[in-house]
Symmetry: C2
Subunit: 312 residues, 2 copies
């Protein structure tokens, strides 16, 4: 199943002609997860060719306006589109009040908005994935989120199946999906007899607004993709500390400590019209770093190699 | 003094990849008037290279969310920019409550927001212009606005001044600005002795969301530019009536009745990815019609010719 990150907005605090306010879309099959919904998110979604999904989850890191100012517009548009399916909104304490005031402004909705105020821990359990949160270190309560797929069955080895007398066909499929089979001889063949060790699912982590902190390092451990606050360059390290943000090289330190595969720098201060210097600072610390740009898409691939090696 | 209309958002109800939610900027010298502020307006302003002005006025036609959802973001950004000058916001009853709830969300502001709830009549009198409002005909109280410059002095004829013995220099300038002068001979020369008849200022009218209606026709009389609701084509005339909007040809009828110079169609329904058919319907009724596009700029020129003739 395809897992795609689309950067809908990569600016911090205020937009620029090139960067919209914060929002990160994660699309997995027919499900859409929106992490933060800054002003203009609905239009960015349309520009990315994604539109709205029946199964849509909004996950808010914190209630600073630049991270939530797109929510009224999304709810208004979903209302005009006569959505019927409930809309799930997760966020820190205060989210319910914000959503309530938004709904009052829009008027009667043809769908339910289900708000869940969350804290560190499990936020959402899907059929084969889990979303976790951890407290980040910002100037207000701010959550970081991790989207983690369940482990996948190990690689299937046809030659082992043949050697054990399992005929090609439905029984192979059953074994591949992790279930044992009974042959006509009465012999039981288990998945581990014909498959390699279980393989990790994919993991995408978004820091929200944060100073570099251990809780985000732990949340991001071994992630395929870490999307981290990188508001400032080293020239503004004091300001980053004061405002509750990270510099690009601090984000890279977090990525290195967490042993992630790839780091994407986001929440770029509007002061950097050309943010290449931020990228240059980061790659000195962690080479597998990319400067996120609006509407950039990242296909998160399954990895076959151990954590720490480049595979995508 | 330059008078420029910039279409920041030309969609209706919801954005499309090509059209942002409603907002029309009118820039005159160092003053900026924003008519409606749909979500994404602040970014469109930046894209148009306009930014924020110290003398900035926001004029809201009505409180439907797609026309005001960009206000929180603007106020938030002005706050981050440490604006000191007051921000003036005009709109129909209900505007104060909306602005108050917005400010509560943003937090302490370093500037004052002055809200004036207005009705039909004079909204704002500037040094040499007036903004008027009239009630439009929408599904909720909705104002149309007219920006009208004062009359300008008539054309100055140097040969007449010379013939009357007025020496070239400061006295010419005084006469040109509409004031009489006394020559060394004691003779009084009045502006009308050396100037043609007073010339009209420029007039720009924005209908807001509306069915075709007489009050907007009257407000738009003789305007240089009429920007009119053109949500639907003739195929959707019933829907336009029901929802309180106009079709393109109804907008053209209004322009024709009001004897304006140019009509711009805006608030285009997202159903028309190609809105050329709307333009085609309108030009059959009123040839001087343009389909507004996002970030389109219109320089409104002074006219020397009588109303009804093409001069820009």
């Amino acid at each position: 199943m395809e897992l795609k990150v689309v950067f809908l907005g990569t600016s911090g605090s205020m937009p620029t002609p090139e960067r919209n306010l914060p929002s990160i879309a994660l699309r997995r099959g027919r499900e859409l997860f929106l992490f933060d919904v800054g002003e203009g998110t609905q239009r960015q979604l349309l520009k990315a060719g994604m539109g709205f999904k029946q199964k849509m989850y909004i996950l808010i890191t914190h209630l600073h306006l630049d991270h939530v100012s797109g929510l009224p517009g999304i709810i208004h548009t979903l209302s005009l589109l006569q959505r019927k399916a409930p809309l799930m909104v997760f966020g820190p304490p205060g989210t319910l009040e914000y959503v309530r005031s938004t709904i009052r402004r829009v008027g009667n909705l043809p769908f339910k908005v289900v708000v869940k105020e969350v804290s560190a821990g499990v936020v959402l359990r899907g059929p084969d994935y889990t979303v976790y949160a951890a407290w980040a270190d910002h100037s207000c309560p701010c959550l970081a989120y991790a989207f983690v797929e369940d482990e996948r069955p190990g690689r299937f080895y046809p030659e082992r199946a043949r050697a054990l007398g399992v005929p090609e066909g439905p029984l192979w499929k059953k074994l591949q999906s992790g279930k044992p089979v009974i042959l006509t001889t009465g012999k039981v063949v288990k998945p581990e007899d014909v498959c390699g060790p279980k393989r990790p699912g994919r993991k995408v982590v978004y820091s929200g607004d944060t100073r570099p902190c251990d809780s985000v390092v732990r949340l991001a451990e071994g992630a395929d993709v870490l999307i981290h606050d990188s508001t400032f360059g080293e020239d503004m390290a004091d300001r980053a500390l004061e405002d509750g943000h990270s510099t690009a090289s601090q984000a890279a330190e977090v990525a290195k400590k967490a042993g992630v595969l790839k780091l994407y720098l986001t929440h770029i201060s509007p002061r950097y019209r050309d943010a290449t210097p931020l990228l240059e600072e980061a790659v000195k610390v962690f080479p597998f770093t990319t400067l996120a740009e609006d509407l950039m898409e990242v296909d998160v691939k399954f990895r076959e190699t151990p954590v720490g090696e480049e595979c995508t």
